[in-house]
Symmetry: C2
Subunit: 290 residues, 2 copies
């Protein structure tokens, strides 16, 4: 039994989704001031609203990570017509929310989320692939298991691959998958960074600065997949050089220019945004308010 | 028994709150691009997150409007430190959500919400006053019943005033109270306007245009109370003259200038924003998507 109210946990996750997409300027991504042609800021708000019941259900689910991720994708899509909004975020949020539901207090999240990840089954892997094709995400298929292909489902079953195993396979080139296998290291680092910055900078700029830090430290998977490793590296270098120039007030103009450039080139660091959502969730779960 | 999922109804209300505060430019009010000194856009997002469980509870509550409004104020405040965000909106949303919970389909809202309003009790009136002082709203007290004053609670009880009676007393000078006594006329008119505009204009501009229309047709109570009747009238006239100039693309510059002027003078049409939230709720409940 959890001692923390399920609706409280789900609300922490929902607020994380809302504040991530609102934070601006967040170079290359949708924010309150930037939309893509078919996907808009408002679609992300609606997605965060629609997924709440699934998040709440996840807090008292002992298993079924894959099915819950698929359900999250479906519910998110029932409330908006902007296409895929939060698929990557759900891959992190669902196990985190399930872990929070197992916690007796606010300190055991790190231990529990690793257990949730390791306890996944072959059925979770199959459901995850179904979620994948429902979300129609343009990412690299895990090894030679092509997505949405029934043969792949058979292959998963034949080889007895769990969802954790799939994440191990992808972990070398996918920063979201790597979170599953390295104990959600970037997520907890991100949470610490946001909590360190919120008092001085307020919630928006704490998120923007942490986003820039993540971008400068890690090559974004979404950029690597959509473009290549070199492009992701360039984006990291540029972020680092901007951050080195000083305080947020001094560099905000440069972050804006960087944002405009990435948007123009269609470079969206979507995986970094997913880590931000996960980090915000951890922060709210740990009691952060603003 | 309702045939509509409680979480669906609560989600409609939550999405209404998120999209109202996001819509920009919404002259004089907080939106995604404008904050006040102590209250920010993000506080409104957090308030919409925090109130969800109360909204869900309201869908299956047969009575207790006043207590639910108070609970909504308290929960909203537990998630953010920006002060009063949605008090006026809750006065409309709570009876609407309760009415939706009684509906067998999506067409009976208008009839049911009038019943919910008329069935309120003296206890609801007392709870409403408690909510009022919890929200610390700077509005005109109902007649000589001064707020937060225990003598007033006794007076309500002595005179046997229900919450509906209080709304009747305030209805002549308060557009939110008037909704209770005129069958939520502006709310349903607002819903029709948004639904008429969404296809051509998209969700943001449908809200902005409807906001301008409401402002031009009705003097905002919040402005009347904070300033005077003349100021509210001026704002209405200015809105009307801008709207008469043409299509949204042609007048957006003027709406922006109007917004900047109102923000500078501290004129915030808060009651009009509350009607927008109620109208958005009705629209989503009736099946609108974007």
């Amino acid at each position: 039994m959890t001692s923390i109210d399920p609706s409280h946990i789900a609300s922490c996750a929902q607020l994380a989704m809302l504040l991530e997409v609102s934070a601006t300027p967040k170079p290359g991504n949708i924010d309150r001031d930037h939309n893509y042609t078919d996907t808009r800021f408002e679609h992300f708000l609606a997605s965060a609203v629609g997924v709440y019941p699934v998040l709440e259900k996840a807090t008292h689910s002992k298993s079924g990570v894959g099915a819950l991720i698929r359900e999250a994708v479906i519910e998110s899509g029932r409330w908006q017509k902007g296409g895929n909004t939060h698929f990557g975020a759900f891959i992190l949020l669902i196990p985190l929310v399930m872990a929070a539901g197992r916690c007796e207090d606010r300190t055991c999240l790190k231990t529990q989320v690793q257990k949730v990840a390791r306890e996944t089954t072959v059925e979770d892997a199959v459901e995850f692939y179904r979620a994948f094709s429902a979300a129609k995400v343009n990412v690299k298929p895990v090894d030679d298991l092509s997505l949405g292909d029934i043969a792949s489902f058979d292959k998963i079953k034949e080889q007895g691959l769990t969802l954790f195993n799939l994440m191990e396979i992808s972990g070398s080139y996918d920063m979201i998958a790597e979170e599953w296998t390295n104990g959600f290291q970037k997520t907890f680092g991100c949470a610490a960074s946001i909590q360190n910055k919120i008092k001085e900078h307020g919630i928006n700029d704490a998120v923007v600065l942490t986003f820039m830090e993540l971008l400068s430290n890690y090559k974004d998977t979404f950029i690597q997949t959509k473009f290549d490793d070199k492009k992701a590296e360039e984006v990291s270098m540029r972020s680092k050089s901007i951050l080195q120039k000083g305080h947020i007030d001094e560099i905000k103009g440069e972050i804006h220019a960087f944002d405009e450039q990435l948007l123009k080139e269609g470079i969206n660091p979507g995986s970094t945004a997913d880590i931000i959502i996960a980090g915000l969730f951890v922060s709210f779960f740990e009691g952060m308010r603003f």
